[in-house]
Each structure stands twice: as C-alpha cells, then as structure tokens.
C-alpha cells in the first residue's frame, strides 16, 4: 500500500512489526509460508495470558463456591478480585493492539458471507477444503474476532463501572454491568473452547502458526486458499492437485518439513 | 438539684432554659424523655440556639442571651394575672403574706432602696420584714422609722440588722406591702410587649410558652407538676443568681418546689463540683456551707453568734431553723481539722482559720496575681488558662507568679502558659515563673467519692494503678503539706500552729487512704454520747449515724456535717448498691447516699397540703401519719418528723423563717430582694426598663490594663456571643482523646445563615471573632438554627462558640487549629452573689479571615 494512503494505525503497526521482527525471528522452511510475524504472535500470547488470568480470577468472583480453588493461585479471593480488573485491562489493551494489527484482514467481505452460508459443510467436514475465496482469515475467525472486539468494549465499560463501584456510578449501573460483564464472559468462554479446539487438534497444523509463525503450503491452500494465492501467486487448487499427484506417485506422503 | 435525675420522670412539664441537658447531661436527660413517653410531659426550651435539647422539645423559643429575667418575670406576671398560681401553697409555704418594711422601694428606676452609689453596694436594712402580727384587714399605717441605735464605740462595727422574731403578715395577701403585692407590682412592668422588646421573643410565642408552662396550675389545680431545669447558661451572668431566683420564685408561685417531678434543678456540669462546693473548695465557706470567719469574729462565740440565725416567723407558725445547730457543726469541724489541738480553752483552735473580709474568688486570684499579690498557685486538675475569663489576662498573671504547681494527667495549657502561642523563645527567657508539673492519677486509678448533681454520694473503686511515675493526687498533696510541716518544725516561721497541728492521723499520713478520710468526714464520737430521748449511746470512737448527733462541746468530730451519716458503723453508706425502688418514683433509697440524711427530694414536706396529705396521691413522697403522729413516706422527710401539720411549721427548714422566699430579706442577695432585669455588662442596648441603670448596679468592673469592655450599644462590637460545651467533648480534657476528636475534630463558630450571607461567609471558612479583649479564629458553621432577632425593633445577631480547643491537644499539636482560646474573648466580670464570671452574652464582631 502506498505510504500516502496508509493510516497512522498502519504506520504504528508497521513500526511495531519491524521492531519485533528485529527482536525475534521467524524461520520459514521450504514448503512453508509465513503466517504470523513475531509481533502478532507476541500479542496473541499476551492476549491469551491476560485472558486466562482474567478468566481464572473471574471464576473466583463469578462462582466462588465452585471455583474457590482457583483463588489461592492469586493470593486468595480479595487479591483475585483486586487483580482481575488489571488482568482485564491487560487483556483489552493487548487485544486492542491485535485488533489494530488485524483490522484490515478482518474486514468482512462478500466471500465471508458465502463462507458462512456454507458453514455446515465446513463444520461437518464434508468440504475437505475451504472455499477458494477464503482469505487470510475465514469468516468463522472473523466472527470470533469481532465478538471479542465487542466483548472487549462491553468488558471495558462494565468493568470500569464495576471497578469504581456503586459508590461512583450508582447501584443500578453496577447491577446491570454485573450481568453484562458475565454474559460477555460466558460468550467468550464458549468461543474460546472452539478457538482452542480448532487451533490445535481440530485443524492440525494450525498451532505452529502461532508458535513458529509459519504454516505449510498445504495447510494454507487447504484452509485459506485465497491467501495462498495472494502470497504465492499460484493457484491453490492446482498446487493441491499437483501435490496429490506427487503423493499418489510415491508411497510416501509429500515432504513438507 | 432540689430533686434528682430520676425524679424528672415524674414531671408533667419541663422548662429547660440556661441549660442544654441533651448535650451536656445525656444520661440524665433520659428521664426527661421518660416523662415525655410515660406521662406525655411537654418540654419548653428557651435558648439562644436551637440546641439538641431544643430539637427534642415540644416548643422552642429563641431568646437573646442574658435576657432570661425578663422572660421569667413575664411568666410570673402571666401566672399571677391568669390565676395560674398555687394559692394555698403560696400563702402557707412562702413569704407571700409577709409584710415588708415601709421604706422598701421597688427598682422602677433600676435601684432598690438603700443604694450607695459611691461604694456600689446596698444598705439592706429596708429589705426586711415588718414586725407585728396579723395585719389582715387592718388599716395600713406607716411604721415609725428604725429606732435610733445607741452610739457605737469608735472602730466597732454596727450590729447587722436582723429579721424580726415576730413577722407581720396578711394571709389575705391584700396588704399593699405584703410580699405578694410587691411581687405583683415588681413584675407588672414585664409585659409581653416589654418581654418582646428585651428578649426578642415575639409576643405570640412568649404568650404560648407562658400559657403552656403555667397550664399545670390551670384553675389552681394542684395535681400536675412542672420542673425547671437549668445549668450554667443561667449561672454565668453578672446577674446569674437572680435568674435562678426568678425561676425559684416562679416554682414557688406554682407550688412546684418539694414535689416529685418539680423543683428547681441545677444541672452541675462536672463529676464532683457539687462535692467540691459541699466540701468548701471555694473561698467563702467552710465544709457543709458554714460561713467563713471574718475579722469581726474575734472569737468562736462571736463567729457563732454572727452565723447562727435566730428564728423569725409569724407568731402562730413554727420554724425549725435548722441552722440553729451551727455551733455543733462548726465545733465538730474544728475538732476534725485540728484534733487534740482544738480544745475548749483555745476556742477549738478557731483562730487557726484565716479570717476573710473581701472577695478571694476565682477571677480575683488571677486579677490579684496579675497585680503581683499572689505569688504561688496550686492547680490540681484545674486548667485556669483555658477556663478564663480573659485567658490572656490569666496567662499574663502567671508570668508574674513565682511558682506554679500543676498536678495533671495531660499536658495542659496552664502548665505550658509560658509557651502559649505568641510567646517567643526570647519572651520565654524573661518569664521567671518556676512551673512544677506533677503527673497525677486518672479517675480509674483512684477511689473516693463523687457527689452528683442530685447530691448523691457515690464511691468509686480503683481499677488499675497510675501509669509510669504518676502518683495519687492525695499522696502528692499530703506529701507537700507534710514537707512544709517538717520545715516549720525545723525552721519555725510565721504562725506555725495550724500547720503543725492539722491532723493527718492516717495510717500512712503521706498517702492517706481515702476510706480513712471518708470516715473522718462522716465523723465519730470522741466520748460516749447518749441521746436522752431514745437512750441510745454512741461509744467513743464509733462512727456517728447522722448529724443530729453532733455536739458543740468537742465530743464529736465531723469533717462535714452534711455528710454525717455517709459512713456509719453500719458501713460505707455511699458504697451501697441497693437497686430497689418500691415507690416507683425513682428514689432508690438504698443506692449510695444522698445528703442531707439520705433525702432524695429537698423540701418534700411541701409536697403535701396543709393537712399533710400529698397534693397528688399518685406521686406521694412523704405524708403525715396521724396514728404514728409522725411524718412518714417513701423518702426521708425533710422536716421535723414529729411536727404535726396543725403546728404550721414551715417546710423550708433551712431558712430561719421556715418558708420559701419570694422576697429575700436582708443580706441574702447583694443586688436586690427581688430579681430585676439588668443587661449584661456588654450589651447591644441600654436596659429598656431603666436605661439609666442598665447593668446590675452592684457589679464592679475590674481595673487592670487588661480589662477592657465594649460599650453599651457599641457599634463595632455589635454581635452577641455565647459560649457552650458540646456533647462530644468534655471541657479541655477530651481533646486528648482520639475518639472524641474524631467526632468533632475542629473548633468552630456557629453563625446564623443571615449574618453569614451578609458577611459573605460560607460554611467551613475561617472566621475571626473579636471582642474588646482578644480574637478567636475558627471555622464557621453556618446554620439556620440561630435566627436573627429583633431586639427593641432592631435586628440583632447572636453567635455561639464551643469552648473545647486550646493549644495542647491532638489536633492542636498537629497544627490543625489556630490555637486561640474561646475564653480569651470573655470579660472579667462576676456575679455579685456567686462570683461566677459572665461567660455568656458578651459582645463581639465577626469577620472573614
């Protein structure tokens, strides 16, 4: 993108990406594609860390009788309660950076709508490959992303109300915030199960994208064909067929390391 | 208090004025609440401020500070005009029917008869009863002037005029010179219009209050009872005693004295100032209210002759005249003081006592110290700098003293006067006073007796020892005295006899057990004494059961005749803890011990009618039992028990005339036999009754360069200021106590909202209050609880200052206050009867800091 049209956000992200790229590195072997640079990965895991800290301290507040056993890890109930908003702020802040980082690829497209209409095939596994117009992120990922964005807004507003308390904002705002905060947390909790599943055992090969930052070309043309096409300039379908041919011609699966 | 704390629950009507019991006596005030709840009793509060007592009242009336006599005089007038008086009571139990000497005149120009303008004293010889019998219906004739007195030997003082033994009277109360008619005339001038102009109370409010209070005696019905409750809001005026007298007269008019739920009730403000008064911790008396000898008392006989009143009464009546026993009380006291050194031959060491003929009272200590006459001062738990009046004068007086011994439990302003705010280190080097500050013991570390406002003696126990090197106060005092005695033994000196002979025959004289002292105060027999009537004998060495046993021949000792009966052979009466109250009147005869003779309501004979039957049978205290030919009852009769009603003995047995005095004859009062309204020394206007005699004529101003007073109607100092205590604090003591400091942390000035608006003062802003003497800085409490008043049609403001902050205390030491003292503002001027300073109702100006 020409510099003249780049936004300050993009400039900031670029600077951050460069800085992180200097600090860390991403090795991409042959047959692999760079999926997530260092900056993205660091943000992701920061978000994840804060998310789980906030989640576990939040459990101790949500249902102490069930989750009281979490609180000793944080120095007891009151300390959990004290730290929870700080974790929450950390989560929102880091996710905020990630959101800026991902703002563009997360923009909803007509392809995403088609993907959503076809979701049954994807979930059931009937469709072995995602539709060819599936880009860097598929629609499911985008839904989750925007859910978290929305959740963060809810967290932030209700969290501040709860943090300052009824003495500042009055009883009713706290009573409402309390419910909204919980609902938001529950939705996110549900989403996180799917996220973890799909990024680990649900779609093998995904996890390393957030560890090493690279994915196999096969993974890429399978799940994000449009992105594959964009970064390699090759047709994912053709490459897949090519690979299948190669595989069938040999008894061994294609080398991908 | 003529009655007691619990007795307030028996009342039907309360007039609370010159006091703020809800704040200053909360636990006593519960009995006022009990009366409200259980008797539907009504409360009228008359006060310059809407206090927490007023907040609970059925009627609150805002009065100008110091205008109390005008209000009460107006109520007297209202009661008389509306027949809200107790006729039988008045005729038989007061001197309403007594005839006053011709020549006595009422103060229509502000002066009673006999005023000596030069000396500012009254010659009181016309303030006396007429001699003669029943003058009812007889033509009024002028009695001849006083018989010529025989010429006196040069230098001899003329004999004081005495009450006539046979007082003239008119039971129809028609004689123009009978007390009742004079009283009526005296208060004729106190019309509702005049009351409004002087006090600032609108007429309709005044009439409503007067009507409500006197409603207990509607149509002369005697069943209901009203009480009057006051405190130092009345005492601390240059006419304080006369305010209280006005209240007493009102109560006599309404027949409320001596009755359960009635009386005139002084709420004393400290745990043992009643005891200190009984025990003569004040200059003008000896223990048990015996008079202090004066130089004319050349020997004991002369003293006794002067101080023992003779019976004076209408012929057909009787008078007990209990003070006729003065000699027994005085001799027993001298024997207690000086033991074997007090013998019949040496007049029981009468000359050991100093003879006084002038005023040595509180403000004179400071005035005379300021003038260099008083060189040394002992202050045992007494913070004179804070108490004032005119604290700056007291500080400057101490600078001139040689030595000061302070026994205290906290660092106080008096012991640190030499580093009061404004005194620099350079100044301090010029102050040559040596100050000893001795750590004394707190109340919980000492035993001994307190006497409460209801005259109950109660013993307290030791809970723990004093901290650090602190010592018991009695040990400190006794050791100093015995050290002085040693010096006199060793070195001799001026008149050492009393110092050498004062008895300190305690097991450990340097640290006397207070129980031993208490036994000495009660008194014991030194020889076997027998009561001829009952044939009961008290053996030598035994404790006396009561003051009736005291003798004037040196065979008994008693440190205070009033307390005789408090520690008998049966044990320490003041330690009793009997919780039974069979009558339900709150008498508790077996709890502690009440002087005199364990009586709980004084003058209780007056609770009965002429036949000896209680005015209200549902609240009977004592009554005449015809079968036993004796007064009996649930309380100890304050009367000669075998005096049958037909004998017509007066119920007020301590007066030689036996009656309640509407008119105080002779030297009873210095400033008039009837109370007259005078303006405070500092007043925004001249007296509307007699502008030429605005102030109390016998009050003298002090004359040192420190003594400055605002002019009457001063244009600069035109705001009336009054001082008071808060319920959260106790004088200058709890400023050392974190919890009380938390409740009310800082000094403040209560300012009417209208005045604050005018001055641009907002709540919480610092203001400077200035009197003719000094200034005081504190935050403003802007309130609508003090309203502007119309005094003689002119808008007048009052402000109030709580007295609790000084320059040593928790917040003071943290530098959170201006370290000014409320009593730096107050004037040095005293009531001529009780010598109490005029802390209330002086003039100030107020400005924003």
């Amino acid at each position: 993108m020409p510099a003249s049209t780049s936004s300050s956000v993009e400039r900031f992200d670029d600077k951050a990406r460069n800085a992180f790229e200097h600090a860390g590195k991403t090795t991409v072997y042959r047959g692999e594609l760079l999926r997530h640079p260092v900056y993205t990965r660091v943000l992701h895991w920061a978000v994840a860390l804060f998310f789980f800290l906030a989640l576990f301290t939040g459990f101790g507040i949500y249902l102490p009788w069930l989750f009281r056993w979490f609180t000793p890890f944080f120095g007891g109930g009151p300390l959990s309660r004290v730290m929870h908003p700080y974790f929450g702020v950390g989560f929102v802040f880091c996710f905020g950076l990630q959101a800026l980082n991902w703002l563009k690829p997360m923009i909803w497209t007509a392809a995403d709508s088609r993907w959503m209409r076809n979701i049954k095939g994807v979930v059931s596994g009937e469709e072995k490959m995602d539709p060819p117009d599936t880009g860097f992120f598929n629609a499911g990922q985008k839904v989750q992303f925007w859910e978290i964005v929305g959740g963060c807004v809810v967290y932030l507003i209700t969290g501040v109300v709860l943090w300052a308390g009824a003495r500042t904002f009055g009883r009713i705002p706290v009573a409402v915030s309390y419910v909204l905060h919980d609902i938001s947390a529950l939705i996110m909790l549900g989403g996180i199960f799917i996220h973890i599943y799909l990024s680990t055992i649900g779609e093998p090969g995904t996890f390393q994208s957030m560890i090493r930052g690279a994915v196999s070309e096969a993974w890429a043309w399978t799940f994000h064909p449009a992105w594959y096409k964009q970064v390699t300039g090759r047709d994912p379908q053709q490459d897949c067929e090519e690979a299948r041919r190669k595989m069938n011609s040999s008894t061994k699966p294609p080398k991908q390391s | 208090m003529t009655n007691g704390w619990i007795d307030i629950k028996n009342t039907d009507m309360m007039l609370i004025m010159g006091g703020n019991p809800a704040e200053n006596h909360p636990c006593g005030f519960k009995w006022a609440i009990e009366a409200k709840i259980h008797r539907n009793a009504k409360t009228i509060v008359v006060d310059p401020r809407l206090t927490r007592t007023a907040a609970n009242a059925d009627m609150y009336v805002q009065i100008r500070a110091g205008a109390d006599i005008a209000f009460l005089g107006g109520v007297i007038k209202y009661a008389i005009e509306n027949n809200r008086i107790a006729k039988d009571y008045l005729v038989n139990y007061t001197n309403a029917a007594f005839i006053i000497k011709d020549g006595f005149s009422l103060p229509e120009d502000g002066l009673f008869s006999g005023f000596d303008a030069e000396k500012k004293v009254y010659d009181k010889k016309t303030w006396n009863y007429e001699e003669g019998g029943d003058l009812a219906g007889k033509p009024v004739v002028a009695t001849p002037a006083d018989k010529p007195t025989p010429p006196l030997a040069p230098g001899a003082t003329p004999p004081a005029p005495a009450l006539p033994p046979n007082i003239a009277f008119d039971l129809s109360l028609q004689h123009p010179r009978c007390v009742y008619q004079l009283l009526k005339k005296q208060y004729e001038r106190y019309t509702p219009e005049m009351v409004e102009r002087i006090t600032g109370i609108p007429q309709d409010q005044f009439l409503k209050a007067a009507d409500l209070f006197t409603s207990v005696r509607k149509d002369g019905d005697m069943k209901k009872v009203a009480t009057i409750i006051y405190a130092v809001g009345w005492t601390q005026h240059s006419f304080g005693t006369q305010i209280i007298r006005t209240a007493a007269m009102l109560q006599l008019l309404l027949g409320n004295v001596g009755r359960a739920g009635g009386g005139v009730n002084a709420l004393r403000g400290h745990s043992n100032i009643q005891g200190a008064t009984d025990m003569a911790g004040i200059f003008d008396i000896l223990p048990g209210y015996l008079k202090m000898p004066n130089p004319t008392d050349v020997d004991l006989a002369a003293y006794l002759k002067r101080t023992t009143p003779l019976v004076a009464k209408p012929d057909p009546w009787e008078s007990f005249n209990y003070w006729s026993n003065t000699s027994k009380f005085a001799v027993s006291l001298l024997k207690a003081f000086y033991g074997p050194a007090a013998t019949k031959e040496n007049d029981f060491a009468f000359n050991y006592l100093p003879k006084i003929d002038r005023n040595y009272s509180w403000v004179n200590i400071w005035n005379d110290m300021y003038e260099g006459k008083v060189k040394g001062l002992f202050a045992f738990g007494m913070n004179g700098v804070m108490i004032g009046p005119d604290s700056n004068k007291n500080i400057d007086a101490l600078k001139k003293a040689d030595w000061l011994v302070v026994c205290e439990i906290y660092p106080d302003e008096t012991s640190e006067f030499w580093r009061a705010p404004g005194i620099t280190a350079e100044d301090q080097k010029k102050i040559n006073t040596t100050v000893y500050r001795l750590p004394g013991a707190g109340f919980a570390e000492k035993d001994g007796t307190f006497v409460n406002s209801a005259r109950w003696l109660q013993w307290k126990n030791i809970a723990l020892p004093p901290p650090g090197q602190a010592r018991l106060d009695q040990e400190i005092l006794a050791t100093i005295f015995l050290k002085v005695r040693e010096l006199y033994k060793k070195e001799g000196g001026k008149f050492p006899d009393p110092v050498l002979n004062a008895t300190f025959a305690y097991t450990n004289p340097h640290n006397p057990l207070l129980a031993e002292v208490a036994r000495e105060i009660n008194g014991k027999a030194l020889a076997d004494i027998t009561d001829p009537k009952t044939n009961i004998t008290i053996k030598a060495g035994q404790q006396l059961p009561g003051f009736a046993w005291l003798k004037d021949d040196g065979t008994t000792i008693s440190g205070n005749w009033l307390y005789c009966g408090s520690w008998t052979e049966a044990g320490a009466m003041m330690q009793r803890r009997g919780t039974d109250d069979p009558s339900g009147l709150g008498i508790y005869p077996n709890w502690g011990w009440s002087w005199p003779a364990n009586r709980r309501v004084l003058y209780n004979r007056a609770s009965c009618d002429m036949e000896g039957k209680p005015w209200d049978p549902s609240r009977r205290q004592v009554w005449w039992d015809d079968a036993k030919q004796s007064w009996v009852g649930v309380d100890v009769p304050d009367f000669k028990v075998d005096s049958a009603p037909k004998d017509h003995m007066g119920p007020f047995i301590m007066n030689p005339d036996g009656i309640g005095r509407l008119f105080v004859p002779l030297s009873g009062m210095q400033d008039g036999p009837f109370p007259e309204f005078y303006e405070p020394i500092e007043s925004p206007l001249a007296n509307l009754l007699h502008p030429k005699q605005s102030n109390n004529p016998v009050v003298k101003k002090y004359k040192t360069d420190m003594d400055k007073y605002a002019k009457t109607g001063d244009t600069e100092f035109n705001i009336i200021c009054t001082t008071y205590r808060l319920t959260e604090h106790y004088h200058y003591w709890t400023k050392n106590n974190p919890m009380n400091v938390e409740l009310v942390p800082e000094p403040f000035v209560e300012v009417p909202a209208e005045l604050a608006d005018r001055m641009g003062i907002r709540g919480g802003e610092k203001v400077k209050v200035t009197s003719a003497r000094a200034y005081y800085i504190a935050k403003a409490m802007v309130t609508r609880r003090i309203r502007p008043m119309k005094i003689d049609g002119k808008e007048t403001f009052q402000i109030g200052i709580p007295i609790h902050w000084g320059f040593r205390g928790i917040v003071e030491d943290e530098g959170k206050t201006a370290k000014t003292l409320a009593n730096q503002l107050t004037p040095t001027v005293i009531d001529p009867n009780a010598f109490t300073p005029e802390f209330k109702g002086f003039l100030v100006k107020i400005e924003k800091v």
């Binding site: - | 400290h270 200190a276 200059f283 000896l286 301090q428 109340f443 650090g468 207070l514």
Partner: protein, 193 residues
C-alpha cells in the same frame, strides 16, 4: 419489656454438621462470630468522671487482678445496675477507655525553670522538697497575722489553690484542711466557674 434472649439462644442446637465439597465448608461461617472480648476480663465498678449525672460504669481490665499482673483496660461500659444511667453512657463516657489508656498521659514529674524554654525532668523527692520550700517562703513572706484594725486574721494571701472538677470529696477535704491551715484564702474550685 423483658425477654430472655439467653434462653432462646441457649435453646438452639446446631443440627447437621458442616460438609465440605467443592470448597464449600460451613465451618468458617460459624467461627466468624468473634469471641466476646470481655469474657475473661475483671470488672471494676466506678463512676464516670465527666458530668454530674454520675453514671455508673464498669471498667473491664484484662486478667483476674492477681498480684503479678498489671491490669490493662480493654473496655468501659455503663453499669446496668446504676439507677440513673441504667447501663447507658454518653459519647464521652463511652470513650473512657481511651481516657484511661491514653498515650498523651503525663508520666513523670517535670519542672520548667525560670527563663527556660523547655521542660526538664525532676525526681519526685526533689520536686516535693523544692515545692515545700517555696510554699513556706511564700507563706512566711506574705502571712498577715492581724489586719489594719489589729484584729487577728491569720491569712496567707500570697498563695492560691485551685481544685479541679474530678477531685474527690476526700481529696477536697484534705485540700481544704491543709490549705486553710496554711492560711490560704484564695481557695477556689471548678465549682465556681
């Protein structure tokens, strides 16, 4: 209105034991009512030193008043037997514990010498001796045996005594006896003001 709370409270029997599952344990709930802080304290009956209502108070001190223990005050409460206050106390009386146990208390004799700007410590003996000497000197210097008219007056006018409001009767009696014997006329008390 009187009802026996104690009886009803005593009548309570706790049925069922606390159970513990998933961190759910009732034990702390029952343990929370703290033990009564005066349950092992000694009681001393006294009288409030503030106003003249003379409320009966109970001073609770730790320990059983055994010889070797110095008692500490833990609580002060109204004496319910006292007919006037019946156990009640005002805000000053309620804070008496802090008056007894107060770190602002004076703990040692001190003297401020002429011209000094600070206190200095002094022993009790020294203080007594110096005070006695000053008393004697002042008395001898200012004593008036007879007045202008030759009448015996035996007054010591150079010295004054002021007594406080919480001085007991017995102390006041000793003060009157000793001061009047010294000839003191300026003998005053809080009772005056």
């Amino acid at each position: 209105m009187e009802f026996s709370r104690r009886t009803f409270l005593k009548g309570t029997v706790l049925g069922g034991a606390g159970f513990s599952a998933l961190g759910f344990d009732l034990t702390p709930v029952y343990a929370q009512t703290q033990s009564l802080k005066i349950s092992r304290a000694s009681e001393t009956r006294s009288t409030c030193p503030y106003c003249a209502v003379s409320c009966g108070i109970i001073i609770y001190t730790l320990g059983d008043k055994a010889k070797n223990a110095i008692p500490q005050v833990v609580h002060v409460e109204g004496d319910p037997d006292h007919p006037i206050n019946r156990g009640t106390l005002c805000p000053k009386g309620s804070s008496l514990q802090q008056d007894i146990l107060n770190d602002r208390r004076l703990l040692k004799p001190q003297v401020r010498r002429p011209g000094a700007t600070e206190w200095e410590d002094i022993s009790w003996d020294q203080a007594y001796t110096e005070i006695a000497q000053r008393v004697k000197k002042t008395r001898d210097d200012t004593f008036v045996e007879t007045d202008a008219q030759g009448r015996t007056v035996n007054r010591c006018e150079g010295m004054a005594f002021t007594g406080g409001c919480t001085d007991t009767n017995e102390f006041n009696y000793l003060a009157v006896k000793s001061m009047r014997s010294l000839g003191v006329c300026y003998l005053e008390n809080q009772a005056r003001v």
